[in-house]
Protein backbone atom coordinates (compact mmCIF):
# COMPACT_ATOMS: atom_id res chain seq x y z
CA UNK A 1 0.00 0.00 0.00
CA UNK A 2 2.91 2.30 0.68
CA UNK A 3 3.83 2.63 -2.96
CA UNK A 4 0.95 5.02 -3.44
CA UNK A 5 1.34 8.76 -3.19
CA UNK A 6 -0.26 8.72 0.22
CA UNK A 7 2.54 8.01 2.63
CA UNK A 8 5.45 10.27 3.37
CA UNK A 9 6.43 10.81 -0.23
CA UNK A 10 5.41 14.18 -1.64
CA UNK A 11 2.24 14.20 -3.61
CA UNK A 12 2.80 14.19 -7.36
CA UNK A 13 0.42 17.07 -7.81
CA UNK A 14 1.64 19.88 -5.63
CA UNK A 15 -0.66 22.49 -7.01
CA UNK A 16 -2.94 23.82 -4.31
CA UNK A 17 -6.54 24.26 -5.17
CA UNK A 18 -8.00 27.75 -5.31
CA UNK A 19 -10.06 26.66 -2.30
CA UNK A 20 -6.99 26.34 -0.18
CA UNK A 21 -5.47 29.57 -1.39
CA UNK A 22 -8.53 31.62 -0.72
CA UNK A 23 -9.74 30.09 2.48
CA UNK A 24 -6.72 29.22 4.53
CA UNK A 25 -5.39 32.70 5.06
CA UNK A 26 -2.12 31.05 6.01
CA UNK A 27 -2.66 30.10 9.61
CA UNK A 28 -4.57 26.92 8.88
CA UNK A 29 -2.65 25.76 5.88
CA UNK A 30 -2.69 21.98 6.17
CA UNK A 31 0.27 21.65 3.79
CA UNK A 32 1.29 18.58 1.83
CA UNK A 33 -1.32 16.12 3.08
CA UNK A 34 -3.92 18.60 1.93
CA UNK A 35 -2.37 18.81 -1.51
CA UNK A 36 -2.34 15.02 -1.67
CA UNK A 37 -6.05 14.84 -0.83
CA UNK A 38 -6.85 17.63 -3.25
CA UNK A 39 -5.16 15.68 -6.03
CA UNK A 40 -7.24 12.61 -5.21
CA UNK A 41 -10.59 14.22 -4.51
CA UNK A 42 -10.98 17.47 -6.42
CA UNK A 43 -13.17 16.95 -9.45
CA UNK A 44 -14.39 13.58 -8.17
CA UNK A 45 -16.63 14.53 -5.26
CA UNK A 46 -19.45 15.58 -7.58
CA UNK A 47 -19.63 12.14 -9.17
CA UNK A 48 -19.28 10.33 -5.83
CA UNK A 49 -22.20 12.32 -4.49
CA UNK A 50 -24.42 11.49 -7.43
CA UNK A 51 -23.42 7.83 -7.36
CA UNK A 52 -23.84 7.73 -3.58
CA UNK A 53 -20.57 5.85 -3.28
CA UNK A 54 -16.92 6.52 -2.51
CA UNK A 55 -14.27 4.33 -4.18
CA UNK A 56 -13.40 1.72 -1.53
CA UNK A 57 -9.86 1.41 -2.88
CA UNK A 58 -9.35 5.12 -2.21
CA UNK A 59 -10.64 4.76 1.36
CA UNK A 60 -8.31 1.83 1.99
CA UNK A 61 -5.36 3.74 0.53
CA UNK A 62 -6.03 6.77 2.70
CA UNK A 63 -6.64 4.51 5.69
CA UNK A 64 -3.45 2.52 5.18
CA UNK A 65 -1.49 5.77 5.17
CA UNK A 66 -3.11 6.77 8.46
CA UNK A 67 -5.11 9.66 7.05
CA UNK A 68 -8.61 8.48 7.98
CA UNK A 69 -7.83 8.79 11.69
CA UNK A 70 -4.78 11.03 11.65
CA UNK A 71 -4.76 11.71 15.40
CA UNK A 72 -3.88 8.12 16.32
CA UNK A 73 -0.40 8.14 17.93
CA UNK A 74 2.64 7.04 15.89
CA UNK A 75 3.09 4.09 18.21
CA UNK A 76 0.00 2.54 16.66
CA UNK A 77 0.90 3.39 13.09
CA UNK A 78 -0.99 6.67 13.16
CA UNK A 79 -0.01 10.12 12.04
CA UNK A 80 0.04 11.40 15.61
CA UNK A 81 -1.51 14.72 14.67
CA UNK A 82 -2.65 17.14 17.36
CA UNK A 83 -6.31 18.08 17.44
CA UNK A 84 -5.41 21.41 15.85
CA UNK A 85 -3.46 19.83 12.99
CA UNK A 86 -6.01 17.04 12.57
CA UNK A 87 -8.73 19.67 12.52
CA UNK A 88 -7.03 21.68 9.79
CA UNK A 89 -6.72 18.52 7.71
CA UNK A 90 -10.36 17.59 8.41
CA UNK A 91 -11.50 21.05 7.31
CA UNK A 92 -9.56 20.71 4.09
CA UNK A 93 -11.16 17.38 3.27
CA UNK A 94 -14.53 18.85 4.29
CA UNK A 95 -14.08 21.69 1.81
CA UNK A 96 -13.79 19.11 -0.97
CA UNK A 97 -16.10 16.25 0.01
CA UNK A 98 -18.22 15.93 3.15
CA UNK A 99 -18.87 12.25 2.45
CA UNK A 100 -15.16 11.46 2.68
CA UNK A 101 -14.87 13.74 5.70
CA UNK A 102 -17.76 11.83 7.34
CA UNK A 103 -15.94 8.55 6.80
CA UNK A 104 -12.93 10.15 8.54
CA UNK A 105 -15.17 11.23 11.42
CA UNK A 106 -16.40 7.64 11.84
CA UNK A 107 -12.97 6.09 11.57
CA UNK A 108 -11.56 8.69 13.97
CA UNK A 109 -14.34 8.20 16.48
CA UNK A 110 -13.89 4.41 16.40
CA UNK A 111 -10.14 4.85 16.89
CA UNK A 112 -10.62 7.37 19.68
CA UNK A 113 -13.04 5.03 21.47
CA UNK A 114 -10.48 2.21 21.29
CA UNK A 115 -7.69 4.55 22.40
CA UNK A 116 -9.69 6.04 25.25
CA UNK A 117 -11.42 2.95 26.63
CA UNK A 118 -9.32 0.05 25.40
CA UNK A 119 -6.66 -1.73 27.40
CA UNK A 120 -3.04 -1.72 26.22
CA UNK A 121 -3.66 -5.06 24.55
CA UNK A 122 -6.75 -3.81 22.77
CA UNK A 123 -5.06 -0.64 21.57
CA UNK A 124 -2.21 -2.75 20.23
CA UNK A 125 -4.63 -5.18 18.60
CA UNK A 126 -7.09 -2.77 16.98
CA UNK A 127 -5.47 0.61 16.34
CA UNK A 128 -2.89 -0.66 13.83
CA UNK A 129 -5.80 -2.13 11.85
CA UNK A 130 -7.48 1.28 11.77
CA UNK A 131 -4.28 2.84 10.49
CA UNK A 132 -3.55 -0.11 8.23
CA UNK A 133 -6.37 -0.02 5.70
CA UNK A 134 -9.28 -1.49 7.63
CA UNK A 135 -12.35 0.74 7.73
CA UNK A 136 -14.45 1.34 10.84
CA UNK A 137 -17.70 2.82 12.03
CA UNK A 138 -19.18 3.60 15.44
CA UNK A 139 -22.83 2.76 16.18
CA UNK A 140 -24.84 4.67 18.77
CA UNK A 141 -28.36 5.53 17.54
CA UNK A 142 -31.31 3.17 17.50
CA UNK A 143 -34.88 3.55 16.30
CA UNK A 144 -36.03 4.56 19.79
CA UNK A 145 -32.76 6.15 20.87
CA UNK A 146 -31.59 9.15 18.87
CA UNK A 147 -31.00 12.24 20.97
CA UNK A 148 -31.96 10.14 24.01
CA UNK A 149 -29.22 7.55 23.88
CA UNK A 150 -30.17 6.40 27.38
CA UNK A 151 -33.08 4.61 25.67
CA UNK A 152 -30.57 2.33 23.92
CA UNK A 153 -31.75 -1.30 23.94
CA UNK A 154 -28.95 -3.23 22.22
CA UNK A 155 -27.82 -5.94 24.64
CA UNK A 156 -24.34 -7.27 25.21
CA UNK A 157 -24.49 -10.45 27.28
CA UNK A 158 -21.43 -12.13 28.69
CA UNK A 159 -21.20 -15.88 28.08
CA UNK A 160 -17.95 -17.40 29.26
CA UNK A 161 -15.10 -16.09 27.12
CA UNK A 162 -17.48 -14.47 24.67
CA UNK A 163 -20.12 -11.79 24.56
CA UNK A 164 -23.34 -12.01 22.55
CA UNK A 165 -24.94 -8.93 20.99
CA UNK A 166 -28.63 -8.60 20.14
CA UNK A 167 -30.34 -5.48 18.89
CA UNK A 168 -29.95 -2.94 16.15
CA UNK A 169 -28.37 0.40 15.22
CA UNK A 170 -29.53 2.98 12.70
CA UNK A 171 -27.82 5.62 10.60
CA UNK A 172 -24.32 4.40 11.32
CA UNK A 173 -22.07 6.56 9.15
CA UNK A 174 -19.61 4.57 7.02
CA UNK A 175 -21.02 1.23 8.19
CA UNK A 176 -21.53 0.25 4.56
CA UNK A 177 -17.74 0.29 4.10
CA UNK A 178 -16.69 -0.84 7.56
CA UNK A 179 -14.65 -3.92 8.39
CA UNK A 180 -14.88 -3.21 12.11
CA UNK A 181 -17.90 -1.87 13.97
CA UNK A 182 -17.57 -0.26 17.38
CA UNK A 183 -21.00 -0.82 18.89
CA UNK A 184 -22.45 0.52 22.11
CA UNK A 185 -24.91 -1.53 24.15
CA UNK A 186 -26.18 -2.40 27.60
CA UNK A 187 -24.20 -5.00 29.43
CA UNK A 188 -25.25 -7.97 31.50
CA UNK A 189 -23.41 -10.93 32.95
CA UNK A 190 -24.61 -14.44 32.14
CA UNK A 191 -27.73 -15.31 34.09
CA UNK A 192 -28.32 -11.69 35.05
CA UNK A 193 -31.81 -10.43 34.55
CA UNK A 194 -31.52 -8.06 31.65
CA UNK A 195 -35.25 -7.51 31.38
CA UNK A 196 -35.80 -4.01 32.65
CA UNK A 197 -32.35 -2.52 32.54
CA UNK A 198 -33.65 0.11 30.13
CA UNK A 199 -35.18 1.90 33.07
CA UNK A 200 -31.76 2.47 34.56
CA UNK A 201 -30.57 5.36 32.46
CA UNK A 202 -27.22 5.66 34.19
CA UNK A 203 -26.88 1.95 33.46
CA UNK A 204 -23.82 -0.01 32.74
CA UNK A 205 -22.82 -0.16 29.13
CA UNK A 206 -19.94 -1.29 26.97
CA UNK A 207 -18.40 -0.55 23.61
CA UNK A 208 -17.57 -3.71 21.67
CA UNK A 209 -15.41 -4.13 18.59
CA UNK A 210 -17.36 -6.34 16.18
CA UNK A 211 -15.95 -7.47 12.84
CA UNK A 212 -18.63 -6.65 10.25
CA UNK A 213 -18.44 -10.17 8.81
CA UNK A 214 -19.35 -11.86 12.11
CA UNK A 215 -22.36 -14.19 11.66
CA UNK A 216 -25.56 -12.45 12.74
CA UNK A 217 -24.46 -8.96 11.64
CA UNK A 218 -26.59 -7.51 8.84
CA UNK A 219 -25.71 -4.11 7.37
CA UNK A 220 -28.33 -2.40 5.21
CA UNK A 221 -27.67 0.93 3.52
CA UNK A 222 -29.86 3.90 4.31
CA UNK A 223 -31.50 4.60 0.97
CA UNK A 224 -31.04 8.08 -0.51
CA UNK A 225 -29.81 10.05 2.50
CA UNK A 226 -30.38 13.81 2.32
CA UNK A 227 -26.71 14.66 2.67
CA UNK A 228 -23.24 13.15 2.71
CA UNK A 229 -24.76 10.77 0.21
CA UNK A 230 -21.61 8.76 -0.35
CA UNK A 231 -20.75 8.37 3.34
CA UNK A 232 -22.22 4.87 3.49
CA UNK A 233 -24.83 5.40 6.20
CA UNK A 234 -26.35 2.07 7.14
CA UNK A 235 -28.63 0.34 9.61
CA UNK A 236 -27.26 -2.67 11.44
CA UNK A 237 -29.15 -5.59 12.91
CA UNK A 238 -27.48 -7.85 15.45
CA UNK A 239 -28.86 -11.34 15.88
CA UNK A 240 -26.97 -13.39 18.46
CA UNK A 241 -23.66 -11.93 17.32
CA UNK A 242 -20.87 -13.63 19.23
CA UNK A 243 -17.38 -12.14 19.62
CA UNK A 244 -14.57 -12.82 22.10
CA UNK A 245 -15.02 -11.08 25.46
CA UNK A 246 -11.61 -9.53 24.75
CA UNK A 247 -13.42 -7.29 22.24
CA UNK A 248 -15.23 -5.46 25.05
CA UNK A 249 -13.24 -2.25 25.33
CA UNK A 250 -11.70 -1.86 28.75
CA UNK A 251 -13.05 -5.25 29.74
CA UNK A 252 -15.76 -4.00 32.05
CA UNK A 253 -18.95 -1.97 31.89
CA UNK A 254 -19.02 1.80 32.36
CA UNK A 255 -21.81 4.33 32.79
CA UNK A 256 -23.54 4.77 29.43
CA UNK A 257 -23.53 8.61 29.57
CA UNK A 258 -19.79 8.77 30.21
CA UNK A 259 -19.12 6.23 27.47
CA UNK A 260 -21.10 8.02 24.77
CA UNK A 261 -20.15 11.53 25.88
CA UNK A 262 -16.48 10.64 25.61
CA UNK A 263 -16.79 8.87 22.26
CA UNK A 264 -18.93 11.65 20.78
CA UNK A 265 -16.51 14.34 21.91
CA UNK A 266 -14.15 13.30 19.13
CA UNK A 267 -17.00 13.14 16.64
CA UNK A 268 -18.12 16.62 17.56
CA UNK A 269 -14.65 18.04 16.99
CA UNK A 270 -14.45 16.31 13.64
CA UNK A 271 -17.90 17.46 12.50
CA UNK A 272 -17.14 20.99 13.67
CA UNK A 273 -13.95 21.16 11.61
CA UNK A 274 -15.71 19.48 8.72
CA UNK A 275 -18.28 22.27 8.79
CA UNK A 276 -15.49 24.84 8.65
CA UNK A 277 -14.51 23.06 5.46
CA UNK A 278 -18.05 23.27 4.10
CA UNK A 279 -17.98 27.00 4.75
CA UNK A 280 -14.63 27.38 3.00
CA UNK A 281 -15.87 25.51 -0.03
CA UNK A 282 -18.95 27.72 -0.12
CA UNK A 283 -17.02 30.94 0.37
CA UNK A 284 -14.65 30.05 -2.46
CA UNK A 285 -17.43 29.14 -4.86
CA UNK A 286 -19.55 32.16 -4.01
CA UNK A 287 -16.62 34.57 -4.26
CA UNK A 288 -15.50 33.19 -7.61
CA UNK A 289 -19.02 33.45 -8.98
CA UNK A 290 -19.51 36.98 -7.63
CA UNK A 291 -16.32 38.10 -9.35
CA UNK A 292 -16.91 36.44 -12.72
CA UNK A 293 -20.64 36.53 -13.27
CA UNK A 294 -22.03 39.83 -14.57
CA UNK A 295 -25.60 41.07 -14.34
CA UNK A 296 -26.89 44.58 -14.98
CA UNK A 297 -23.51 45.40 -16.51
CA UNK A 298 -21.34 44.75 -13.44
CA UNK A 299 -19.96 41.70 -11.59
CA UNK A 300 -22.43 40.29 -9.08
CA UNK A 301 -20.16 41.27 -6.20
CA UNK A 302 -20.69 44.93 -7.03
CA UNK A 303 -24.36 44.56 -6.17
CA UNK A 304 -24.59 45.38 -2.49
CA UNK A 305 -27.16 42.74 -1.65
CA UNK A 306 -24.87 40.07 -3.12
CA UNK A 307 -21.81 41.61 -1.47
CA UNK A 308 -23.51 41.26 1.89
CA UNK A 309 -23.88 37.52 1.31
CA UNK A 310 -20.11 37.31 0.85
CA UNK A 311 -19.50 39.24 4.05
CA UNK A 312 -21.84 36.94 5.94
CA UNK A 313 -20.11 33.87 4.54
CA UNK A 314 -16.75 35.20 5.63
CA UNK A 315 -18.06 35.93 9.14
CA UNK A 316 -19.57 32.44 9.34
CA UNK A 317 -16.34 30.78 8.21
CA UNK A 318 -14.11 32.83 10.49
CA UNK A 319 -16.34 32.49 13.54
CA UNK A 320 -16.55 28.72 13.12
CA UNK A 321 -12.80 28.53 12.60
CA UNK A 322 -12.10 30.43 15.82
CA UNK A 323 -14.51 28.23 17.82
CA UNK A 324 -12.83 25.10 16.44
CA UNK A 325 -9.34 26.43 17.08
CA UNK A 326 -10.27 27.17 20.66
CA UNK A 327 -11.74 23.71 21.20
CA UNK A 328 -8.69 22.05 19.63
CA UNK A 329 -6.37 24.11 21.80
CA UNK A 330 -8.29 22.96 24.90
CA UNK A 331 -8.11 19.37 23.62
CA UNK A 332 -4.37 19.55 22.93
CA UNK A 333 -3.66 21.15 26.32
CA UNK A 334 -5.72 18.55 28.15
CA UNK A 335 -7.94 21.27 29.54
CA UNK A 336 -11.27 20.14 31.02
CA UNK A 337 -12.81 23.01 29.11
CA UNK A 338 -12.44 20.85 25.98
CA UNK A 339 -15.71 19.06 26.68
CA UNK A 340 -17.90 22.15 26.52
CA UNK A 341 -15.69 23.80 23.90
CA UNK A 342 -16.30 20.83 21.58
CA UNK A 343 -20.06 21.14 21.95
CA UNK A 344 -19.83 24.89 21.38
CA UNK A 345 -17.64 24.46 18.29
CA UNK A 346 -19.94 21.81 16.87
CA UNK A 347 -23.01 23.94 17.45
CA UNK A 348 -21.52 27.11 15.97
CA UNK A 349 -19.96 25.37 12.98
CA UNK A 350 -22.99 23.28 12.04
CA UNK A 351 -25.37 26.23 12.27
CA UNK A 352 -23.00 28.50 10.39
CA UNK A 353 -22.48 25.86 7.71
CA UNK A 354 -26.21 25.32 7.22
CA UNK A 355 -26.87 29.04 6.90
CA UNK A 356 -23.71 29.66 4.90
CA UNK A 357 -24.46 26.90 2.43
CA UNK A 358 -27.96 28.27 1.87
CA UNK A 359 -26.40 31.68 1.27
CA UNK A 360 -23.89 30.25 -1.20
CA UNK A 361 -26.67 28.55 -3.17
CA UNK A 362 -28.45 31.92 -3.26
CA UNK A 363 -25.35 33.64 -4.68
CA UNK A 364 -24.73 31.00 -7.32
CA UNK A 365 -28.41 30.59 -8.06
CA UNK A 366 -28.96 28.47 -11.16
CA UNK A 367 -25.21 27.95 -11.55
CA UNK A 368 -25.16 25.94 -8.30
CA UNK A 369 -28.63 24.49 -8.29
CA UNK A 370 -27.95 20.97 -9.44
CA UNK A 371 -27.03 17.83 -7.53
CA UNK A 372 -23.32 17.30 -7.18
CA UNK A 373 -22.34 20.98 -7.40
CA UNK A 374 -20.19 21.99 -4.44
CA UNK A 375 -22.77 24.43 -3.02
CA UNK A 376 -25.69 22.07 -3.65
CA UNK A 377 -23.82 19.33 -1.81
CA UNK A 378 -22.92 21.77 0.94
CA UNK A 379 -26.57 22.75 1.32
CA UNK A 380 -27.65 19.13 1.86
CA UNK A 381 -24.58 18.01 3.78
CA UNK A 382 -24.61 20.95 6.21
CA UNK A 383 -28.23 20.32 7.10
CA UNK A 384 -27.31 16.82 8.21
CA UNK A 385 -24.54 18.32 10.34
CA UNK A 386 -27.19 20.17 12.35
CA UNK A 387 -28.62 16.76 13.22
CA UNK A 388 -25.77 14.33 13.84
CA UNK A 389 -23.35 14.13 16.80
CA UNK A 390 -25.82 16.14 18.89
CA UNK A 391 -28.57 18.10 17.16
CA UNK A 392 -28.72 21.88 17.47
CA UNK A 393 -31.26 21.44 20.22
CA UNK A 394 -29.20 18.86 22.16
CA UNK A 395 -26.16 21.12 21.92
CA UNK A 396 -28.22 24.00 23.28
CA UNK A 397 -29.46 21.85 26.15
CA UNK A 398 -25.91 20.82 27.00
CA UNK A 399 -24.68 24.40 26.85
CA UNK A 400 -27.56 25.57 29.00
CA UNK A 401 -26.84 22.80 31.47
CA UNK A 402 -23.24 23.97 31.57
CA UNK A 403 -24.41 27.48 32.47
CA UNK A 404 -26.78 26.17 35.14
CA UNK A 405 -24.15 23.87 36.66
CA UNK A 406 -21.91 26.81 37.37
CA UNK A 407 -24.55 29.16 38.69
CA UNK A 408 -25.57 29.24 42.32
Amino acid sequence: MRDLPLSDSPAPDRELSPDTQLSSGGENSPGEPAAMVTALVAGEADGWDRAGLLPVALLRKLGAAGWLCAQVPDAYGGRGLSSAAGGAFTAHVGSLCSSLRSVMTSQGMAAWTVERFGTDEQRTAFLPRLTGGDLAAAGFSERGAGSDLSAMTTRVRREGDTVVLDGHKVWVTAAHYADLLVLFGRYSEAGEDDGDAGADDAGEAVAVVVPADTPGVRVTRVADPLGCRAAGHADITLDAVRVPAAHVLGGSPLPLPLLVTTALAYGRMSVAWGCVGILRGCLTAAARHAVTREQFGVPLGEHQLVARHLAELLVAEQTATRACEHASRCWDEGSPEQVVAAVLAKHISAGNAARGAATAVQVLASAGARDGHVVARAHRDAKLMEIIEGSNEMCQLMLARHVLDRTV
Binding site: G251, T261, D405
Partner: protein, 100 residues
Amino acid sequence: MSSFDTGATGTTEANEATEKEILRFLEARTKRPWKTDTDLFASGGLSSLFAMELVVHLEKTFGISIRGADLRLDNFRTVTSMTALVERLRTAAAGGTADA
Protein backbone atom coordinates in the same frame (compact mmCIF):
# COMPACT_ATOMS: atom_id res chain seq x y z
CA MET B 1 3.98 15.74 46.77
CA SER B 2 6.92 13.74 45.53
CA SER B 3 6.31 10.88 47.89
CA PHE B 4 7.81 7.60 46.81
CA ASP B 5 5.65 5.53 49.10
CA THR B 6 4.23 2.61 47.30
CA GLY B 7 1.98 1.32 50.03
CA ALA B 8 -1.44 2.53 51.03
CA THR B 9 -0.14 4.13 54.21
CA GLY B 10 2.13 7.10 54.65
CA THR B 11 0.47 9.09 51.92
CA THR B 12 -1.82 11.14 54.12
CA GLU B 13 -0.12 14.36 53.12
CA ALA B 14 -0.43 13.61 49.44
CA ASN B 15 -4.02 12.55 49.96
CA GLU B 16 -4.85 15.82 51.63
CA ALA B 17 -3.26 17.86 48.87
CA THR B 18 -5.10 15.84 46.25
CA GLU B 19 -8.40 16.18 48.07
CA LYS B 20 -7.89 19.91 48.41
CA GLU B 21 -7.15 20.33 44.73
CA ILE B 22 -10.22 18.34 43.67
CA LEU B 23 -12.42 20.36 46.02
CA ARG B 24 -10.94 23.56 44.62
CA PHE B 25 -11.76 22.53 41.07
CA LEU B 26 -15.29 21.45 41.96
CA GLU B 27 -16.04 24.64 43.81
CA ALA B 28 -14.53 26.87 41.14
CA ARG B 29 -16.46 25.09 38.48
CA THR B 30 -19.84 24.74 40.22
CA LYS B 31 -19.77 27.83 42.44
CA ARG B 32 -20.91 25.85 45.44
CA PRO B 33 -19.21 24.04 48.32
CA TRP B 34 -18.83 20.26 48.32
CA LYS B 35 -18.15 17.77 51.08
CA THR B 36 -15.65 15.02 50.48
CA ASP B 37 -18.36 12.37 50.76
CA THR B 38 -21.15 14.04 48.75
CA ASP B 39 -22.36 11.99 45.78
CA LEU B 40 -21.73 14.34 42.86
CA PHE B 41 -23.96 12.48 40.45
CA ALA B 42 -26.93 11.72 42.70
CA SER B 43 -30.22 13.27 41.67
CA GLY B 44 -29.87 17.01 41.16
CA GLY B 45 -26.16 16.48 40.76
CA LEU B 46 -23.83 17.03 37.84
CA SER B 47 -24.09 16.11 34.17
CA SER B 48 -22.28 13.46 32.15
CA LEU B 49 -20.53 16.29 30.34
CA PHE B 50 -19.16 17.34 33.70
CA ALA B 51 -18.12 13.77 34.49
CA MET B 52 -15.91 13.88 31.41
CA GLU B 53 -14.51 17.24 32.48
CA LEU B 54 -13.58 15.70 35.82
CA VAL B 55 -11.76 12.83 34.12
CA VAL B 56 -9.77 15.22 31.94
CA HIS B 57 -9.02 17.51 34.86
CA LEU B 58 -7.71 14.71 37.06
CA GLU B 59 -5.53 13.39 34.24
CA LYS B 60 -4.06 16.80 33.49
CA THR B 61 -3.60 17.98 37.08
CA PHE B 62 -2.12 14.80 38.49
CA GLY B 63 -0.30 13.51 35.43
CA ILE B 64 -2.19 10.25 35.37
CA SER B 65 -4.00 8.32 32.69
CA ILE B 66 -7.42 6.98 33.63
CA ARG B 67 -8.34 4.06 31.40
CA GLY B 68 -10.52 1.01 31.14
CA ALA B 69 -12.31 -0.10 34.26
CA ASP B 70 -10.90 2.83 36.25
CA LEU B 71 -13.42 5.02 34.45
CA ARG B 72 -16.32 3.42 36.31
CA LEU B 73 -18.58 5.95 37.95
CA ASP B 74 -17.89 4.77 41.51
CA ASN B 75 -14.40 6.21 41.19
CA PHE B 76 -15.84 9.67 40.51
CA ARG B 77 -18.80 9.67 42.85
CA THR B 78 -17.15 11.54 45.71
CA VAL B 79 -14.05 13.58 46.37
CA THR B 80 -12.84 10.78 48.60
CA SER B 81 -13.18 8.15 45.89
CA MET B 82 -11.46 10.39 43.31
CA THR B 83 -8.62 11.00 45.75
CA ALA B 84 -8.19 7.27 46.24
CA LEU B 85 -8.18 6.74 42.46
CA VAL B 86 -5.57 9.47 41.90
CA GLU B 87 -3.29 8.15 44.62
CA ARG B 88 -3.59 4.59 43.39
CA LEU B 89 -2.77 5.53 39.80
CA ARG B 90 0.12 7.76 40.86
CA THR B 91 1.54 4.97 42.98
CA ALA B 92 1.15 2.51 40.12
CA ALA B 93 2.85 4.93 37.73
CA ALA B 94 5.72 5.60 40.16
CA GLY B 95 6.11 1.89 40.92
CA GLY B 96 6.07 1.00 37.24
CA THR B 97 3.03 -1.20 37.60
CA ALA B 98 1.19 -1.48 34.32
CA ASP B 99 -2.26 0.05 34.26
CA ALA B 100 -5.38 -1.85 33.41
